[in-house]
Structure formats: structure tokens, C-alpha cells
């Protein structure tokens, strides 16, 4: 268990609904089996776009700050928010720059394109290969469990409230079967002109 991806633990999931998307993460930060913090959110917002980062905690912080910088520079140059699909390509190329000394993170991007109103989610490996998905994206040490719950619970065209229930149940039940994830969760439900952030308590063990 010395994979850099599994030292600190953590889980993240994004889902597509009808005219909405959702992204959620757990709150645990650990050192192997020892839990160090139960308030380490893994989702970061960049205007209209949300980025979830699981993996090595130091890289989660570094990469989230790096993208804060890059997105701010983009906004100053372009005088507009970055679109989700643009963000996806920015993440991809930034990670590939470190092809032979990668950040040990598995990013997830979620958002709604403000121009077209279309939901957008995607995931990446640690060197920037994009996984575009029409349904859901999972990442982190509970990814196997998340694949199971998402594949079992998700269905097309869920409204914001149903999508919230679905992604919450998918995440909560997945992290309860992963020793390295859990301790509460953050859930973002993103609609075209409204984002709702909810904090889930979850099991504290």
C-alpha cells in the first residue's frame, strides 16, 4: 500500500442529470490507516467549473492552487469565465506537461456550459488522458465501490433533487466500504444559474 494514490485516501464522483450536473467528494485525509483530518474537501470551484481532485494530498493542494492561478490568468486575459470543456483541456495539457514526473492525482471536472446550457463532466488519469462520459465519473481509493453504486443507482435525465439523492447515496455507500474514504461529504448540485452545496454527515468511523 505504498502507491502515492492510496496514502491519503479519498473519493470523488460526478454525475450528469437533466439540465444539471452533480459532483461530490468525501472529507477524509489520512496517513495510511491513521485519519488526520475529517475536513479535507476535494472539490474546488473555478467560476462555473468545478474540479474534484483525489490522490496524494500534497498534490491535491498544489494542483488546485495551480489551476486557481491558471484560471485567474485566463479570466484576466479573456474577461470571461472558463468553460467546462476548456477547463478539461487545460487540465489535460497541464498534467501532460508533467508526463515523466506526474502529479499523483485523478481529477474530475464538472460544470454546465453557460453558452449552450449543456451539462459537462469528464475525468482524467494522472497524466492527462481525458475520459469523457455521458453518465458519471468516479475517482479515488473508493473508485471500485463507486463504479458499483453508480452503475446500480444512476439513470438518465434525473432532476436536481433526484440527482442529489442518487449521487449522495452512491458516494456514501461506496465510502462506507472503503477504509481510506468517508468521514462526511460535500455535494454540489450545479444548475445553469444556481449551484447548491450540501454537507453530508455520513458515518464517522
Amino acid at each position: 500500500m505504498s502507491s502515492p494514490f492510496a496514502i491519503n485516501g479519498g473519493a470523488c464522483v460526478a454525475m450528469v442529470g437533466k439540465d444539471c450536473v452533480a459532483i461530490a467528494c468525501d472529507l477524509r485525509l489520512g496517513l495510511q490507516a491513521l485519519t488526520v483530518s475529517n475536513n479535507f474537501p476535494k472539490i474546488f470551484s473555478y467560476g462555473d467549473v468545478y474540479l474534484g481532485l483525489t490522490g496524494l494530498a500534497t498534490d491535491v493542494s498544489t494542483v488546485s492552487d495551480l489551476f486557481r492561478y491558471k484560471v485567474n490568468m485566463y479570466r484576466l486575459r479573456e474577461e470571461r469565465n472558463i468553460a467546462p470543456s476548456t477547463m478539461a483541456n487545460l487540465v489535460s495539457s497541464s498534467l501532460y506537461e508533467r508526463r515523466f514526473g506526474p502529479y499523483f492525482v485523478s481529477p474530475v471536472v464538472a460544470g454546465i456550459d453557460q453558452k449552450s446550457g449543456k451539462p459537462f463532466i469528464c475525468g482524467f488519469d494522472s497524466i492527462g488522458c481525458i475520459d469523457f462520459a455521458k453518465d458519471f465519473i468516479v475517482s479515488g481509493t473508493a473508485s471500485d465501490q463507486l463504479f458499483g453504486t453508480c452503475e446500480g443507482l444512476w439513470e438518465p435525465d434525473l432532476g436536481p433533487e433526484d440527482l442529489f439523492e442518487t449521487i449522495s447515496q452512491a458516494l456514501l455507500n461506496a465510502v462506507d466500504r472503503d477504509a481510506l474514504s468517508g468521514w462526511g461529504a460535500h455535494v454540489y448540485i450545479i444548475e445553469k444559474d444556481k449551484t447548491t452545496k450540501r454537507l453530508l454527515k455520513g458515518r464517522q468511523d
Binding site: D144, F147, G152, A174
Partner: protein, 263 residues
């Protein structure tokens, strides 16, 4: 010296005897033969009030190869004949298929002998303990399998016993095992034991009232099993081809087969 050797057996110098030795020379050498392999696949068992369901996919793999699309992992145990028509127990084994087969044969023989000597079928409880003993008997050269034993208990309630390869066991409401266990198990927690489900508006935070654990009817459980496997097939390459199911009720064991995706 070794590099000049003409003898591939010895990896060392030749000598003038026509026969290669049957004894190893000097210090012990590391054995490179690994007696196990993983044949993939997944199994799943759920117990209800007066029934239990045991299911397993029928794909057998070695690495990325599919050995066969039909190799059942769920077996009836302890019938009086080889047809197992009057069996009362089911066993599923997933992991190393050869060990699984040997384990099944052994347990079947023991339960058959019990039935012959006592004139009645073995109870699940007794069989569960016996299976644990068999597995622990090979503690230092284990059967590389995850076993699940199913049947109806003395009160006619569904019983599921799950094992680790060396015989630790526990009676449970439901259990997934094998390659896709990590995918299926959290889904089952949620849908069978209603984990993380609360009655809306019943309280704040941990004061929320949990959804009552009402026993599920057979049709619902059967649908859950199918859904669980359809999900596993979608995301796990070692799971697929077919689903073999055994439904145990007081009327006996009903066998069902459903196709799964073959990709």
C-alpha cells in the same frame, strides 16, 4: 561456469553421467512453480425471510482470455444422488477454480455421508461449521477461494454463511464475493440493508431515524441480483456471459439461468 554449460537442466557445469540428478544440490533453491491462478468471476447471495438466493456468473478466465462462457460457480450440495435433485444446500466458490472444484467435491462427499449415516439432511448451521473446518484444515496451503454457503435454517429462514479462504465465517443477510465484490457489496448495503437511508424529516444529523429493515420479497431480491450483475458486467472485464441462480425455498431448489453480456 554457468555460461559455458550445455545443459539446460542444471544451469551449471556438465558432468560425465548420462543421467541428470533427481536430488537438488546443496542449498535449497527457490521454487518457481506457483500453484494458484485466478479464474475471475463473481458470486452473490441474499437471504430473505423464507428463502435465499445464490447467484454467480458463468465466465471462467485466465488473464485476458476467456476459458469458457459456461462454467457455473454455484452448486447444490449433499443430495442423495449425483443429480442432486433432493439437495437442501447450495455452495458457491469463486477464486481459483481447481481448488473451488476440489472443495465442492469434498464438502459434497461429507454432507452425503452425513445424510447416509444419520438418515436426514445436514442443517446449514452444521454444514457451515464443517466447511470452516475443511478450509482451516488447509491453513498452510489454503484453498484459494471465497466460499458462500446457503440454505434454510432450522426455523425455515434464509441463511447465508460467507467465508474467507482459511475458514473465518459469519452468518450474514447478504454477501458478494469474487472479482466484482467491491462493486456489488456497497450496492447491496444500500438496497438490501438500506444503509444510509433515513426517514425524511425525522431528525437532524445522527438523530435521523433509519429506514426500517423490512425483509424483502423474493421478486425484489431476484431483481436486485440481476441489477447487481448487470452493473458488475458493465464495469468488470472478468464478469459476464451468463448468470446462474439458485432460489431456495421450502419447496426445494429452483435453478435459473439468464444470459449476461458476452463482451
Amino acid at each position: 561456469m554457468t555460461m559455458f554449460s550445455q545443459n539446460p537442466l542444471m544451469n551449471g557445469p556438465n558432468y560425465s553421467f548420462s543421467q541428470t540428478p533427481t536430488m537438488a544440490s546443496g542449498a535449497n533453491k527457490e521454487h518457481s512453480f506457483y500453484p494458484y491462478t485466478d479464474n475471475g468471476g463473481s458470486t452473490l447471495a441474499i437471504s430473505g425471510n423464507d428463502f435465499m438466493i445464490m447467484a454467480g456468473d458463468t465466465r471462467s478466465t485466465s488473464g485476458y482470455n476467456i476459458n469458457t462462457r459456461y462454467s457455473p460457480k454455484v452448486f447444490k450440495i449433499g443430495g442423495t444422488t449425483s443429480s442432486q435433485d433432493d439437495a437442501t444446500l447450495v455452495l458457491s466458490v469463486v477464486g481459483f477454480a481447481a481448488d473451488g472444484h476440489a472443495l465442492k467435491e469434498k464438502l459434497d462427499a461429507i454432507v452425503k455421508m452425513y445424510r447416509y449415516q444419520h438418515g436426514k439432511p445436514m442443517s446449514v448451521k452444521a454444514c457451515a461449521q464443517r466447511l470452516s473446518t475443511i478450509l482451516y484444515g488447509k491453513r498452510f496451503f489454503p484453498y484459494y477461494v471465497t466460499a458462500i454457503l446457503g440454505g434454510l435454517d432450522e426455523d425455515g429462514k434464509g441463511a447465508v454463511y460467507s467465508y474467507d479462504p482459511v475458514g473465518s465465517y459469519e452468518r450474514e443477510q447478504c454477501r458478494a464475493a469474487g472479482a466484482a465484490a467491491s462493486l456489488i457489496m456497497p450496492f447491496l448495503d444500500n438496497q438490501v440493508n438500506f444503509k444510509n437511508q433515513y426517514i425524511p424529516g425525522s431528525g437532524e444529523g445522527h438523530a435521523l431515524v433509519e429506514r426500517a429493515k423490512d425483509p424483502l420479497p423474493l421478486v425484489v431480491v431476484e431483481a436486485l441480483v440481476k441489477d447487481a450483475f448487470d452493473s458488475a458486467v458493465e464495469r468488470h472485464i472478468e464478469v459476464g456471459d451468463g448468470l446462474s441462480m439458485m432460489l431456495i425455498t421450502k419447496n426445494g431448489i429452483e435453478e435459473k439461468f439468464l444470459p449476461l453480456k458476452k463482451d
